[in-house]
């Protein structure tokens, strides 16, 4: 029978956070991580910071194409249309 898994240290937890968010940890490691998080406000704050970082990164929005670039792409389209016909 397997013994009780060793407790994770905070320094190990921060290295597992991204895999945790990617749902890439084994069931055993996920349980160990969640057990640690339940009793550690600092690592819970770290996880919340990481989630917030990803939320903000996902909200970055691109700028529209410049008129010059749009014209260049129109030209690419017209050449393709001609080739295609």
């Amino acid at each position: 029978m397997l013994g009780r898994p060793r407790e994770l240290a905070c320094q190990e937890v921060v290295e597992l956070i991204s895999d945790y968010l990617e749902d890439a940890l084994s069931t055993r490691d996920r349980r160990r991580l969640e057990h640690h998080l339940a009793g550690c406000p600092h690592c819970s704050a770290y996880l919340a910071q990481m989630r917030e970082t990803l939320r903000l990164a996902g909200r970055l929005t691109p700028e529209d194409l410049s008129p010059e670039m749009t014209e260049e792409f129109s030209e690419i389209f017209r050449r393709w249309s001609t080739e295609r016909d």
């Binding site: 240290a9 190990e12 910071q49 990481m50 670039m69 749009t70 792409f73 249309s81």
Partner: protein, 218 residues
């Protein structure tokens, strides 16, 4: 290349975006120029940012994007929809970028021993000695949208190329991990290592800046 603005919320649902792409693609296949320009606009920033992980020059990156579209248009009738249009385009772009031979993103080693958090912030037992501050609730109040856009951009630009490519595709563009692996020809394990390092840097950059804002206000 700038991402100063912030969307009010998460981008629309991925499947909705993919459906819109397919609708535009059908219009493009029937010769609709406006649909083409709309598609170019929707994917331009992702493509340009990915191209910049292969070449230093912005002008050369723009050429790679244009070249990608020339290739995509020529093969557009062969697109079978087995991957999303975005994944298909980005995979073409990576192939084109590699043939330019200016800089090979693959040359950046994946093995990276940089810790997620400075080891000095833990005691000898590995517990926090300098724990993270609680700033999640008011991050947007403390850091305006303009400053945030600049911060993310400069942090991304300091990352090694492949790390930057993975973080941009996964966290900024919102591709699934398997799509990121396909586009960049990475194993799932390597993708996660690069993602972890990149995300850790982004979080640290936010913490450094927000901490600075708070100290400054005191």
């Amino acid at each position: 290349m700038s991402w100063i603005k912030l969307r009010p919320s998460r981008p629309r649902d991925r499947s909705q975006r993919a459906d819109e792409d397919l609708h535009l693609l059908k219009r493009l296949q029937s010769g609709d120029e406006e649909a083409f320009i709309t598609l170019v606009n929707r994917h331009h920033d992702s493509m340009l940012r990915l191209a910049r992980t292969f070449v230093h020059s912005h002008a050369l990156a723009e050429e790679i994007v244009q070249d990608t579209w020339v290739g995509a248009l020529r093969g557009i009738d062969r697109f079978e929809g087995r991957s999303s249009l975005r994944t298909w385009l980005l995979a073409i772009l990576v192939n084109r970028a590699r043939t330019t031979g200016v800089r090979e993103a693959r040359s950046v080693p994946i093995a990276d021993t940089e810790p997620a958090v400075d080891a000095a912030r833990f005691n000898s037992a590995g517990a926090w000695s300098a724990p993270p501050e609680q700033w999640v609730e008011d991050v947007e109040d403390r850091l305006g949208a303009v400053q945030f856009g600049g911060l993310i951009r400069s942090t991304l630009e300091q990352m090694p190329e492949r790390q930057r490519a993975v973080v941009m595709l996964r966290d900024v563009d919102g591709l699934q991990s398997d799509e990121v692996c396909k586009v960049l020809e990475l194993s799932a394990a390597n993708e996660r290592v690069l993602l972890h390092r990149g995300r850790s840097r982004l979080r640290q950059a936010l913490e450094d800046t927000i901490g600075g804002v708070e100290n400054h206000a005191r």
